[in-house]
């Protein structure tokens, strides 16, 4: 069938790309708190369609993740249709196509200049790269070392958009609205944009520049060759390609016609080669060859008895071995230099609520950035090196990033709703409170009532648990100038604390807060644990001795 309903196939493909890109942007925009505790759902669908993320997360996490059922559907479709995902669905592919088209006057020249040189200089290594990445990622995942987030195309795309483009757009728009001020911009455009196009407020993220740079490089590679990333680098594309090798729907005729060579010229994926034949693992069914064949003989269809075998995958034995070696060597090397998560977990590396032990969490997390995108307070930030090299871009709570704003909201469960792998398990409000993200402790050298006998207890004011997890002890203290003052000194009830970090975020002292949140599994650095068991009989009416000094004789019992 050379046309469908008299419309050339490439127009169908372009329509699908546009519709799915709009859907992607719409879902991306919807990944935000909008007044309901439950998101409508489907925000993370792109990641759940991704068989590479599915395979890597399941391998690394050593479990079957039911959330990934859409990836199984994609595998089935790919076995039938071929690598259509890359040509028809992938938002990164679509954006690359648009970018290439937009800069066609430039890309045409640079491609003509660079393509032949690339082909001459690095054809074999380039062809093998995506398989090399695929093998390395899957093998590392098998060794419970998560690398998929560093190369998965959707993780790279969503992170780049979330960490860099979205805040940039929001700031630029706000600046424009502030500058233009009046007229139809203020009355029509601004309300519409704020409601439908822009995030609620510009977010701030670590690793913005890195995330942006990766995406920029992927786009700039278009200057060298069309769909450079998809053709040679994308490991998800490589996996789709392997699945597509014996797909039912084929480019027909199976032998590449040698009459004019136009289809070979047009192919953006190097899938057609008059000498070597057709490569179903490369073809993304863009349909350009069908629509442009002057003889009208090219089409896609099912041919049961194909005589010629498909061209073998561009994978040399050396390539496979290198991939295997890298897959084993990267985790090994990282562990060896203690960059991996084998090293002790830093106490202030706080994970989102419900995230299990550090190792399981890191294995399941594919660094997609969805949780950080949806977090209404911006408290979730990508780890840089805190969690080791393998933990880069994984989410962590940073309560002091934005003063007075960045805390985990007591009743919010949005991050658990968008996590595509279950690294942050689906939480209800009640379940969340039973899985605290951390526990607070006071630094008695910095907390004002403890260190300076100065009234404060802002942390207690903010504490959201129905019975305050920060309790107050009314004591008499002698200040440095000899004056005796009655002062409210706060301490943490670890049983009640949920580790939301609102105390740390709102602590009135600047710099490092006087109260901090640390991991639940980290040893309690407060003084209370020193007295564990010793003081139980007296209840907690007796003030915990601060800074090694006993409370003065006049100390009163706590009033809580």
């Amino acid at each position: 069938m050379r046309r469908l309903l008299w419309i050339p196939w490439r127009w169908w493909r372009r329509a699908a790309q546009l519709v799915l890109l709009v859907a992607f942007v719409w879902l991306f925009r919807r990944t935000e708190y909008s007044g309901a505790e439950q998101l409508p759902g489907g925000e993370n669908i792109l990641f759940r369609l991704d068989p590479l993320a599915a395979a890597a997360a399941m391998l690394a996490g050593r479990q079957v993740i039911a959330l990934f059922w859409p990836a199984l559907v994609m595998v089935g479709l790919t076995l039938v249709l071929g690598r259509f995902f890359c040509g028809w669905v992938c938002p990164l592919g679509t954006l690359l196509d648009y970018f290439h088209r937009l800069l066609r006057p430039i890309t045409r020249r640079t491609n003509a200049l660079l393509r032949p040189r690339l082909a001459a200089a690095a054809a074999a290594p380039l062809r093998g790269t995506r398989y090399f990445l695929l093998i390395a990622v899957l093998l590392a995942a098998g060794l419970a070392f998560p690398l998929v987030g560093l190369v998965d195309p959707f993780s790279l795309l969503v992170r780049g958009l979330t960490f860099a483009l979205d805040p940039l757009l929001c700031r630029a728009a706000n600046a424009y609205f502030a500058w233009s001020g009046s007229g139809w911009v203020a009355t029509v455009l601004q309300p519409f944009a704020k409601k439908h196009l822009l995030p609620f407020r510009p977010m701030v993220f670590y690793l913005t520049e890195v995330s942006a740079a990766i995406l920029v490089v992927i786009f700039l590679l278009e200057l060298a060759a069309r769909r450079f990333w998809c053709r040679w680098l994308c490991p998800a594309g490589a996996l789709f390609g392997l699945l597509a090798r014996r797909s039912l729907v084929k480019h027909l005729p199976v032998r590449v016609c040698k009459a004019c060579g136009q289809c070979v010229e047009l192919c953006r994926m190097d899938a057609l080669d008059p000498a070597a034949g057709l490569s179903p693992h490369a073809c993304t069914l863009c349909m350009e060859c069908v629509d442009h064949c002057p003889k009208g003989i090219v089409q896609f269809g099912i041919k049961r008895k194909a005589k010629s075998r498909p061209r073998p995958v561009d994978l040399s034995r050396r390539g496979v071995l290198t991939g295997i070696a890298a897959g084993v060597a990267i985790p090994g090397a990282a562990v060896a230099v203690r960059l991996g998560h084998e090293s002790p977990v830093p106490p202030h590396l706080i994970r989102p609520p419900g995230a299990g032990d550090e190792k399981t969490f890191l294995s399941l997390c594919i660094r997609c950035g969805e949780c950080m995108k949806v977090c209404p307070t911006n408290v979730l930030q990508p780890a840089i090196f805190e969690a080791g090299l393998a933990g880069m871009f994984s989410p962590r709570l940073v309560p002091r990033l934005l003063f007075e704003q960045s805390n985990c909201e007591y009743t919010c469960t949005l991050c658990s709703q968008v996590c595509p792998t279950g690294a942050i398990p689906r939480l209800t409000e009640e379940l969340k409170h039973h899985h605290p993200s951390g526990k607070s402790y006071f630094d008695h050298n910095r907390c004002l009532p403890w260190a300076k006998q100065t009234p404060c207890i802002r942390c207690e004011e903010m504490c959201p648990t129905p019975e305050k997890a920060i309790k107050i002890l009314n004591t008499f203290k002698i200040k440095q100038d000899g004056e005796e003052v009655e002062i409210q000194q706060p301490f943490v009830d670890r049983e009640l604390c949920v580790g939301c970090g609102i105390c740390e975020s709102n602590c009135t002292i600047e710099g490092v807060a006087g109260i901090r949140v640390q991991r639940v599994d980290a040893p309690d650095p407060g003084t209370e644990f020193l007295l564990k068991g010793a003081n139980k009989a007296a209840g907690q009416a007796r003030p915990p001795a601060a800074d090694g000094r006993a409370a003065p004789a006049g100390a009163k019992g706590g009033s809580f």
Partner: protein, 308 residues
Amino acid sequence: MDRREFLEQVAAWSAGACVATPVFNVSSIVAAEGKPQGASLLAVAKGKDYAALVEQVMKPLGGMAAFVKKDDRVVVKPNIGWDRTPEQAANTHPDVVKTVVQQCLDAGAKRVLVFDRTVNDARRCYVKSGIQAAVESIGDSRAQCVFQDQSKFVPVQIENAKSLKEFHFYQDALATECDCYINVPIAKHHCLSKLTIGLKNAMGVIGGNRGEIHKGIHQRIADLNLVIRPKLTIVDATRILLRNGPTGGNLADVKVLDTLIASADPVAADAYATTLFGMKPEELGSTVAAAKLGLGEMDLSKVKILNA
């Protein structure tokens, strides 16, 4: 353009850009009006229907028309600080806010803005408190429940202040932008300041580091009220929070009183509301400090209390 010319222009433009940075000083415009004249009036009303209760409590004070003039730009400032539901008594009751806004509109207000600087995420607070929906349900474009615009916090010199000489305030709440500021706080327990009622509600229209206020909280709250001068304070004591305030969250800590207090005197309103907790007005440091600054009357024997 040669190099010299280019450099000269760069220097000129950069200098211009630096000099043009706006400097706000609205202190002269927000000059204190001083203590309200004559004996302070204070109305108290009880009832289950909170919409009717607002009407009831305003009647002895001459109704809303005594405060809101035609074409006034009005700010109604409830407490929307927390991601809590109305029955948890952390935010002002939405029915009270809605009726107050409605009455301002009926009195001919040109514009009624409702906002607060929230502690939890603003969107969550506006939704969970029910206040956003309540204001929107009026269906009048003059009344708007808006999120604060971060660029609108301006520095203000506080004249006569004892502790806080300068702070950032929200522009729309200042006398330059607002003809009638109506404070609609909820009365709650608060460990550091003992209670949070009307005077402390000014925390919702200030910018900068609010933690600064906590260092000497009583005087600093009073100082803030030298700038924010509500023409009317309506204390929402329909339900009050007795413990674990100001956040609450436990219904056992909530006491339903079905009471509203209204007064043009912010100090008297706080002083009376304090008695609902079984405390004396002078136990609240901020009330004492505000009375000393001449912001109102805290001696309830000198206040004319009208039971509506």
